[in-house]
Amino acid sequence: MSQDRYSVSDVEEMLQGGAFRPSDDLQIRVRSALRKPPPAFPVPRYAWMAGLTVMVVALVLTGIVIALSPKEKAASIVYGIGAVYEAGLVHPIDETRQVGDISLTVDWVYADWNQILVGYTAQGRADHDIHVRTGVVSARLADGTALKGDAIAGYGEMGADSSVAAFDMPEDVRDRQTIDLQLVLQAAYEQYPTPSETDPAEEAQNPSPSGASSVQLEPFAVITTGGGETTFEFSIPVTPGRVIEVGQTVEAKGYAVTLEQVVIAPSMTTARLCFEVPDPVHFRQWFSFVTLTTGSKGYSGAGDDYQVGEPYSCQRVEIGESVPLDRDRYIFRVDELAGFEFHPGDIVTTDMLPEEQWRVKGPWVFTLDIQP
C-alpha cells in the first residue's frame, strides 16, 4: 500500500499558496456602490469621504500597496487627528520599554481641549501566526483622574502592532499648559494554533481502534505568551482651543433643542446638545446630525451617545474636522434628529439592526456671534 502523499498541513499550505484576484469589473461595481452616499445622510456631507473610500478601494483592488509604516497607517486611519498629525502638531516621544522580548514604544502624543491622543507601537518577533497585541490598562492624570477612552485604531503587521489611544480631555484641566499623564500599556503574543497530525510512524505503531484516521486534536485555545505591562509617564503640552458658551434654545417642528456649549480645538470640535426625544418608547436609539458653518465652509458631525429610553437627551456631538478657531461668527445647525426602532426582546444581530426609523428634520439653527 502506497503512503498517502498529502497531509492536512499540505492542504493548508496549498490553500494559503493562492488567492482569487478581484476582477476589474468588480472594481468598477464597488466604486459605483461606494459613490452612492449612505441614504441616511445628505450627499455633500460625506462626498469627500466617499471619494476617499473609492480611492482606497481602487488602490486595494489594483494591488497597489500604500507605502506607509505601520504607525503612519495607524495614525492615518484615526479620524480627527489627520490634520494635526500631518501638520506636525503631535509631539514625538519615542520612549521605549521592554516588556519581555516585546519593545513597546510611545511614538507621539497630542492633547488639545477636546482630546488626548497617544500613538504607540509594539515590536516583537515576526513569527507566522503569532500576533503582537497591545492594550491600554489605565490612563490617569497626575492627580489620579482616570481618563475616559480607549484604543480606537490599530494597524498590525507580522511582529508589530501600532495603535492610537484616544481619551476625552477632562473639562477641568483643559486650560492648563501641560498635563502629566501616566499610561499603563500591555503587550503580549497571541497565537492561534493550527491543527497537527500525529507522526505517521507513530500512527503505524498505534493504529486507532476505530480504524479511522488517527487524528490528535490539540486544544484550540488562543495561547497568550510573553509580554506584560509597563508604565509610561510624560508631560503633554496642551494645544489650546476655544470654548463658546451658547445656552440657546430653538424650537422647530414642535421640538425644543438646546445648544449648551461648543468647544473648537485643532483636532476636532465638540458640542453639548440637549433635546426632547420625539418618541423614546417606539424609537429607542436617537442620533443628532449637525453642521457647523463658518465662512463658506460647513463641517458635519453627529451625536450618538443616547441612553435607551431617556425622554430628554444630552449628547456629546463630535465634528471630526479642524474648524478655524478665530472666526467671529459660526452657524450651528441641527439638521435632523433620527430615531431607530428597537424593542426589548427584539433579535438584534450585529448586521441586522432595525430598519424602521423616524427622522425629524429641523433645522434648528443657532447663530454664534463672538464678541471681540
Binding site: 482569487f20 473610500t53 453627529a302 456631538v317 431607530f340 450585529t350
Partner: protein
C-alpha cells in the same frame, strides 16, 4: 464614535480586508459572476448601514463578514445550485504566492487542485474553510461570527482539511501506475 470615525474605520477596513472578503465569497459560491455581485452588494449594504455599526457589539470585520454571510444566504435562497461541481472556468483569476514566477505558477496549480474539491465539503465546513483561508480570519473571529466556541472551530476546520486531504489522496491513488 461618530459617523465619520466609523466611515474612516470602514475605509481602513477596506484597505486591509476587502480582498479577504472577496476570497471568502468565492470559496462559498465558486463563481466569479455571483461573487462580484455579492461583494458589490455587501459594500453597498455596509455603507448604507454604517450608522448601525456599534463596535461594542463586535469588530468591523465581524460586522462586514456578517453582512456577507447574510448576502450569501440571500443568494442561496433565491438560486438553486446548478450542480455542485466546481469548474476552473467559472472561478476568478488566481494569484500564486511566491518569490519567483516559477514558484507562483506552482502555487497556483496546487491552489487550483484543492479549490476544485471544495464541493466535497458540507456547507458549514466550506464556510469555515472560506472564512479561515479565503477571509484569513482568526479562529476567534470565526468563532464570534458563527456563534461557536473556538475549540469547535478548530475541530471543524481540522475535519474539513482532513476531508480535502482524503479526496486529494484518493485522486492521487487513481492516477498512480498499478
Amino acid at each position: 464614535m461618530n459617523q465619520k470615525q466609523k466611515l474612516a474605520q470602514l475605509e481602513a477596513w477596506c484597505n486591509r480586508e476587502m480582498t479577504g472578503l472577496y476570497n471568502y465569497v468565492v470559496y462559498r459560491v465558486a463563481d466569479q459572476t455571483a461573487a462580484d455581485e455579492i461583494v458589490a452588494t455587501v459594500c453597498e449594504r455596509g455603507l448604507k448601514r454604517l450608522h448601525q455599526y456599534d463596535r461594542r457589539r463586535g469588530s468591523l470585520t465581524a460586522w462586514m463578514f456578517g453582512i456577507a454571510r447574510n448576502a450569501l444566504n440571500d443568494h442561496f435562497r433565491i438560486r438553486v445550485r446548478q450542480g455542485t461541481e466546481i469548474s476552473l472556468e467559472a472561478l476568478p483569476a488566481i494569484q500564486g504566492r511566491g518569490d519567483t514566477p516559477e514558484e507562483q505558477i506552482i502555487q497556483v496549480e496546487r491552489f487550483e487542485q484543492v479549490v476544485l474539491l471544495l464541493d466535497h465539503l458540507t456547507e458549514t465546513e466550506r464556510e469555515i474553510v472560506g472564512l479561515r483561508y479565503g477571509g484569513e480570519l482568526k479562529y476567534q473571529e470565526i468563532a464570534e461570527l458563527m456563534g461557536l466556541n473556538i475549540d469547535h472551530v478548530g475541530v471543524l476546520l481540522y475535519r474539513a482539511l482532513g476531508k480535502l486531504r482524503d479526496v486529494l489522496n484518493e485522486k492521487e491513488a487513481e492516477h498512480e501506475p498499478r
